[in-house]
Structures are given as structure tokens and as C-alpha cells.
Amino acid sequence: MSEAIKGNAEPRELTYVAAITEGVREVLLEQSNAFVAGEDVAGAGGPFGQYSGLLTEFGEDRIVDTPISEKGIVGLGVGASAVGCRPIIDVMFVDFMGECMDEIANQMAKMRYMFGGSVTLPVTVLSMTGAGMSMAAQHSQSLEVWLAHLPGIKVVMPATPYDAKGSIIAAARDDNPVFVLLNKVSLGLKGEVPEGTYEVEIGTAEVVRPGTNFTIVAISRMVHEALKAADTLSELGVDVEVIDARSIQPFDTDTVINSIKKTHHGLVVHEAVEFGGIGGEIVAQIQDKAFDYLDAPVGRIGAPFSPVPFSPALEKIYVPDADLIVTKVKETLGLS
């Protein structure tokens, strides 16, 4: 970002992508044993410009272009973190995790446990998720449950520029493997981002809109759709509380339960395929801990059970949106 913005003490706005850059930059300034490694991160500054300028500032020892070798890249992160570095590993698209799932699932996630706690793996993995850019079935998925299902790994999904920067810093300071799943459709989204370092605490959700009648728990970009839906619903007299889950693993059940106890209604919204999505887990937690407070079944919205389609016409109806959320809330409340 420009020096003018950096020097400004007033609240300032950054795009989501600039917040990523700034978060990574703060980590590199703070931790001398941190480096970034991934495909196209150095010379190109990241395929979305998310590492732009970092090569010039930190040099090629710390901003490392890799071959297109996800097993190698993630393995590099595992091995380097095991012996004293704090790597930031870029897996360009979360869809590419299939290429490195052994390094993630069998090595990174389990090493500390298998070794009886004798090894620490302070590795951060950044990866892009989400549909909405006609990037079709292999570059648009939301696969957070693949990761959240693996004990030993933490998973966060920041929805705003503020959270993107603060989550990256929190992840890099954490002594565990943390996946920061970033939303590619939100890269141009603007929001307030403080200068300097701050953390968005991993494992905490945030009530982004307080309300009294209905709780919507939303994940990643769906937070913005939920907020839009809440505006529409408020015109119908429904006062919606929107919770940005922010962290998938660990998941902040308490914030959700406290809200449900107040609103007696709930809906979980995510972009991942609904079947087997994290929504099912959240709903189960709610019925387990707040069943007696519920006035209606807790709903779920996720993508339909198909790969992400390419055509904008199909993709538009594939990805959940505010209209779908409004319809579902109205159904739940018996509003016409």
C-alpha cells in the first residue's frame, strides 16, 4: 500500500487483498525465522497480487518461488517448521489440496501427537477458496471440512479485510499448523484495517450484527450475504443476529449457543456443499446444547450436491446468496 496510507493515523480502508499483503508483511517483520514459499509468490507477487512488493522488501531468501509441487511445498513447511522456522506456505487454491493431502493429513496434522508432543509445527498455510468467478469445478471449491476433520490442524476463514490481516498474524504466531482460507471473490472488498499488528483470536466467532429474533451463523463470504439478508428481513420485522464464525477449527460454539438462547431460531450458511458440511456439525452442537431454547428446527444452507459449475448462469444459482437466506428464514418463521 502507499506510504500516504501508512502514515495516516485516521481509520483507513484497505482491500481484502491488501490486508493479506499487510498481514504477511507484518509477520515477516516480526519473525526473522518466517518465510513465504509457494507457486508464483515471489517474482509474480502471488497470482492475485497478495504478495506484491514482498520480494523487493524481503529478498528471495524469504519470498521463495517453488515448482508446481504441492507435496513438496507443504512438505517443506512441515520439515522447516519442525526444526526452527515459521513458514508461511501458499497453496494457491484450496482445490489443490488433493495434491498434498498426505503432507497435510498424515504428516502435518499428526506429527506432534505421534511424537508424544516432542515436536512443534508453527506453520501457516494460506489458500484461496470460494466460487463466483467462473473458475469452474477445480478452482472454486470450499473444502474447509477436509481440514477441520483432521485433529491437529486449525482452520480459519476470514470474511473481512480486518479479519484477513488479523487472522494471518494470529496464525503465524500460533505454534500449531493453521490454515487461513481466504476468499478469492472478496479480494476487492474494502474495510477498515488498523496499521501495525493485531490478532483475530483463532477459535472466536464474532457477532457482526446484533439481533433478537433469529441467529444466522455464516462462514467466509456468506457473512456478507447474511448481512444483506438481515437488512431485508428487518423490513419484515425480523431482527436478525449475524455471527461470523471466522474460525472453523476450533469452532466457537459458546457464541452461537448464547445467541440461540436469546433468539430461539438458527440458520447456518456456508458456501461448501451442504451434505457433510460444517453446518451439520454446528446444527448438531446447537441441538445438543440448546435444544430446549429452540422454537423451530435449525436450518442449513450450503451449495447443492454438485461440482461448482463454470457457466455464470449456473454458478449464480449454485452459490447461496441473500435471497436464499431470506427465503429460508421466512420459511422457518412461517412468514409468507
Partner: protein, 327 residues
Amino acid sequence: MSKQPTKKVLQELHLTMVRIRCFENAAGRLMEEAKIPGALHLYVGEEAIASGVMQNLSNDDQITSTHRGHGHLVAKGGDFSKMFAELFGRSTGYCRGKGGSMHVSNMELGMLGANGIVGGGPPIAMGAAFANRFLKTKKVAVAFFGDGASNEGSFHEAVNMAALYKLPCIFVCENNGYGEYTPQAKHQTIVDVADRAGGYGIPGVVVDGMDVIAVFEAAREAIDRARKGKGPTLLECKTYRFYDHVGVRGMGLNYRTDEELEKWKKRDPIQSFEAELIKLGVMTQKQIDKVYSKVNDLVEEGVQFAEDSPFPEPSELLEDVYCVKGA
């Protein structure tokens, strides 16, 4: 070739091989007596490789191992008591009973784990080597793997990246002729895995993995090269598994012949080295016998320690899933 190994080195190489052999024989027996739970993949027959390579490493250097990993940890300086305790699933083991045979490890010795996934080690060793250079140390990382793993994508990605970055990483292929139960000729068309080095622009070296001196010297050259910043070497050691893929007698599968086994047993890396040591006047038979008796005492002590050790408490089940600050 540089200077001949000293008498001290020769004796250390012998001791390491005997330590591995005695440890493994006991472990195999205890597994078959069902005292050790789960599956053990024994290193008997392949001792010259771990011993020859590790003789060139210090505790600061790292290794990644395989599912056949006890020998690597023994050669890296592993303590029998903590190793047996781990194999027995006791809380006094190297991994507090959480890893067992296939994940036995010790960070203080730079042993980054046996690995239940074929091809799991090379990317991790490459990453450790990356860190070694990033942190401006002189440490090297050695990835042990088998002929089977040389067909895994992880191996290729790791070697390519290590070569690209000229990392202090050595890839040691323990080619025992079988990927689990499938003979090499049925899993790849090449005879020498070291040929694959050419594809990455690094040296590929083939040595007799039954000859501890040959391994020691080839490894020394590769490790010196890596320490000098000249990048990785693929060092292939031809060897043979005297016991089955799993356990001693294994599952009784009919995938290799007795004749083949006997032929290789005649080249037992320890027996042939002992004959050489006697011939060279480095050790007498009496001294050799004393080595076995001392090591076997340690084995007995280790087994006793393991058997006397407690199992992990139920409260330990969920410990160390994550690193908890202040815990």
C-alpha cells in the same frame, strides 16, 4: 577416495550394526510372542546402511526414516529403553506411547520420525534442509526411503526442490528389492534407482548396501558435498530384507524364494564385516563376542524397562493433539 576409516570408526560401525541387529531380533521375537502390539517392520539385513550413513552425522543433523525405522533411530543414538518402551506402547517411550514402531522419533537426536506412509519422509527432510540453510547452520538432513518410495510423487517433488535450491539434503535409497511384497522389476523398469538422479541434475551413486565401509565412504562424500552447499546426492544402497515385510516370518506369503534369501544371507553385512575386522586385526573374535554380550545386556535392560513401565493414563489420550501455550 579419502583416507581409510580409523580403527575407532571401524569399531563404531560394527557396534552400531550389532546394536541394530540385536534390537531387531529381540523386537521381532517380542512381536511374535504378542508382547509388542501392532506391526513391526524389521531392519535385519540392512544394518550397514543406517550405520554407514549415520557415522557421518552428528545429533544436530536430521534424518527422516521409513516404516522400517528402528535401525535408523538406533544408529542415530536411540536409547534401547525408550525405544522398547515405545514399541510396547508405554508412557516412558520416546513418543509416550503415542507413536509406536511406525512413528518412533526423537527430536533431540534429529530423528524426525519413522513414517507409516511410503514416501512420507523425503519432503520433510527437504524442508528441514531448507531450514538448515535458512537458519545459516551447517546441518544436513538425510531422507531414508526404499525402492518402493522412489515411485511416489512426494519423492520426486522433494528431490527436485532440494536440487533446485541446492539444499543440504541427502536422499538415501535402501533398495531391498521389494516394495512391500512386489519385486522391483514389477514396480519399475529401471534397475538402479540412482538413475533417477539424472532427471534432477544431481549425482546418483550406487553402492553395495551390504558393505558398511562402502556405504560409510559414499555417504561421507555426499554429506560433505551437501555441507559445502553443493546440493543433494541420491545415494542408492543395494540391500535385502532378511525378515519379512512385517515381522520375522511374516504372513507366509509366497512372493520370494528361499534360494534368493539364502543367497543374500551369505552376504550378511555384519558377518562379512566381522571377518574383515578380524583379518585386518582390528578386532578379535573374543572382542566381537564381548560386543554382542554387552549389547544383549542392554537389550535385556531395555525390554525390562519397557515391561516395567506404565501404560499411558486415559487422561493422556487428548494431550498433544495441539500445542497449548503455557501447558
